[in-house]
């Protein structure tokens, strides 16, 4: 049992402070979040926690990038990273599955039963006689507690444009990937920048749509199960697009610094996978939240 960091065989990183920093950052953030919720104003711990998380990302990823650029990693490490990213994305899929599940359950079971379907005639008759089981729900069982929306969100218009934007961004990032593999660095930077721009456009339009929903449609988080599922699904998706766009910007900077080679560019591929995942989730949203 001589040395362990035998690069040709195995790579094991040095002891690292980042995991402990990560725990402190998360703890600070969540305590700050709870305190903010309870007091109704932003607790100082929340921004400090978020800054710590940013510090964690810069520090931890910075360490990994330096190790990678110093050529410390062998193909086995690369494969471990790939497996890690793949199953991380799968866990994200399952997170969205919970919310899609809630949507399907609400549409096909909860709302129908409140309207008297199955053996629930008396539920409807005695508890919510004025409730109509239609989706989107525009009259809640109890409209004094939850203010129903005036109209549902239409699928044409902004959502359709956003679908086109995200689908094209999947194409542009693939072109960028091909450029990377063909060593065309300028082309890589150009198409990656285009992807970033499309991501930002999506987010701007999404914000536009939320303003429209709140101001004109009366569709809010507080407007019953339709608003709940609508904003939680699109909101978490929007958050993931924000993360993805941030990651794309980092990839753009790293591309400009010539960090990637056709043989070694795991970070780029990981971000591309993530971006495709965000895209596929959007297709699910477009079909089941906006369209059907």
């Amino acid at each position: 049992m001589s040395s362990t960091t035998n690069r040709d065989v195995y790579f094991i990183p040095e002891p690292s402070k980042w995991p402990v920093v990560g725990t402190i950052a998360l703890l600070t953030t969540v305590i700050g979040a709870v305190n903010s919720i309870h007091s109704g104003s932003i607790s100082l711990m929340l921004p400090i926690g978020i800054l710590l998380i940013a510090y964690l990302f810069f520090g931890w990823f910075g360490t990994v990038i330096n190790e990678s650029m110093a050529d410390n990693y062998n193909p086995q490490v690369d494969k471990s990273f790939r497996i890690g990213m793949l199953w991380f994305i799968f866990s994200e899929v399952m997170f969205f599955a919970a919310f899609f599940g809630a949507l399907f359950y609400a549409r096909t079971i909860a709302v129908q039963w409140l309207g008297g379907a199955g053996n629930n005639a008396m539920t409807h008759e005695l508890l919510w006689p004025t409730f109509d089981a239609i989706w989107p729900v525009l009259t809640n069982p109890d409209n004094t507690k939850f203010v129903a929306p005036k109209e549902a969100m239409e699928a044409t218009g902004l959502p359709a444009i956003n679908t086109a934007i995200l689908l094209s961004s999947s194409v542009t990032i693939t072109i960028a990937h091909h450029a990377l593999r063909a060593r065309h660095n300028n082309k890589l930077v150009l198409w990656l920048a285009a992807t970033v721009v499309l991501g930002v456009c999506f987010l701007i339009l999404q914000a536009e749509e939320y303003i429209h929903a709140y101001n004109e449609l009366g569709l809010t988080l507080n407007s019953g199960i339709y608003g709940s599922t609508f904003f939680m699904l699109t909101g978490f998706h929007g958050f993931h697009v924000t993360m993805g766009t941030t990651m794309l910007i980092i990839m753009l900077i790293r591309s400009m610094k010539n960090h990637f080679t056709p043989e070694k560019h795991f970070a780029f591929e990981a971000v591309a996978w993530y971006w495709h995942f965000v895209d596929v989730v959007w297709l699910g949203l477009f079909i089941f939240v906006y369209w059907l």
């Binding site: 960091t5 002891p15 980042w18 998360l26 494969k79 399952m94 997170f95 939850f146």
Partner: protein, 533 residues
Amino acid sequence: MSAVIEEHHGEHHDHKPTGIGRWLFSTNHKDIGTMYLWFSFTMLFVGGALALVIRAELFEPGLQFVEPELFNQMTTLHGLIMVFGVIMPAFVGLANWMVPMMIGAPDMALPRMNNWSFWLLPGAFGLLIASLVMSLMGMGSAPNFGWTFYAPLSTTYGPASTDFFIFSVHMMGISSIMGAINIIATIINMRAPGMTYMKMPIFVWTWFITAYLLIAVMPVLAGVVTMMLFDRHFGTSFFNAAGGGDPVLFQHVFWFFGHPEVYIMILPSFGIISQVVPTFSRKKIFGYSSMVYATSSIAFLSFIVWAHHMFTTGMPVATELFFMYATMLIAVPTGVKVFNWVSTMWRGSLSFETPMLFAIAFIFLFTIGGFTGLMLSIVPADFQYQDTYFVVAHFHYVLVSGALFGIFAAVYFWLPKWTGNMYDEKLGKLHFWLSTISVNILFFPMHFLGLAGMPRRIPDYNLQFAEFNALASVGAFIFGFTQLILLYNIVKTIRGRNTVKATGKVWEGSEGLEWTLPSPAPFHSFSTPPVVK
């Protein structure tokens, strides 16, 4: 860069980093495994203390020690701590220690993430236990809605500390997901040459499948607590019928996580028993490949049985029948496993060291828990059993004399490998017999209590239940204090005075890569890959 590498060479000649930094900044699978195991053991005593408060209160009818409000907090935190703070971290600790050694790797695939997975746990449980401490100091209530935190108890009626609980669950979830990803990457990517999938030890196989279950369901748990948070504070109505939602939706999403979680807490124990039984039978395991397929089938079935926890919520009959039959189907692969363990022992040359004793007790007592599970799966019968002590008896048989006994077996089995010293066999046997007898005194009467109609989670009860409750409480205190013997035995083995040195092979019948290493195992397991024929 080469300078950096040179430095590593110097540092890693089995020289461990020293001081607190060794633990805080660790990238070593054994140190991280050790931290997981000690964390779990500490939590066992915390959760156990809460259980003893419950059993003290239930020793006789009437209210003696705790108010009903505090009693609810006791049952809630006992459940949460035992599930998320004891059984799961103990398994991850064992995986950390053993998986790299069993597949011939130097360490886990992603060592830094491994350390983060661990260090999130003290943070998460710090939040949770802080709410109990504050409750005892008279500053609001700790979570009091049971470990299943059903809406609307946890949404409309949850105390302020529920929000800390929600984020605590988020942190546990992140920890579990990263731990699981790490185990999957290690098993796929770090196996020694020649270690094909169908040559992997069963413990590695069961953890491989458990890790997939974890990645699939922990995000769903995160989803359901997020919906709770938004229902509580941001005006959504997922679990509120007034807005078109449904409290039963909570139960569906929760149990979609919750049922695979049950198998997350037992599959690694199946793996441990599958290592221990062949070793002390001096035979190869009977039906290796059927073990692998049975484990996979159980994992698959665990995703389509969740609503058997909800038979009394008013589901359509067709749905109830589907979930009843799907649940009964699980008995088949589980039966295959029990059959294989028994067949492994058949005509083996058995010896009864402490790990083997715990393994045999596991097979008997887990099977009792399995059969009561089968009884609970029958819809019309479940209408009677729902929320009674029969359910409590059932899941304590599978979790205490099942999962926890598996962990005990593992600790005795591998402790000589970890420390280089043999544990005290006499104390081990004493621990075994006291545990096995008292666990039955503790949980067996609960079957009768439940069948006679005593409800769960109630601090007081009718006089007719007095004898069995008193008996269960006596068993609980014996079982609880018996665990101090294990603590003493472990500490004694680690310190290594008056103990026998362990050989590399440790047991006469041991087989597998971990036994080819010296005891104690070197700081980094295999620095060059062994070749498996």
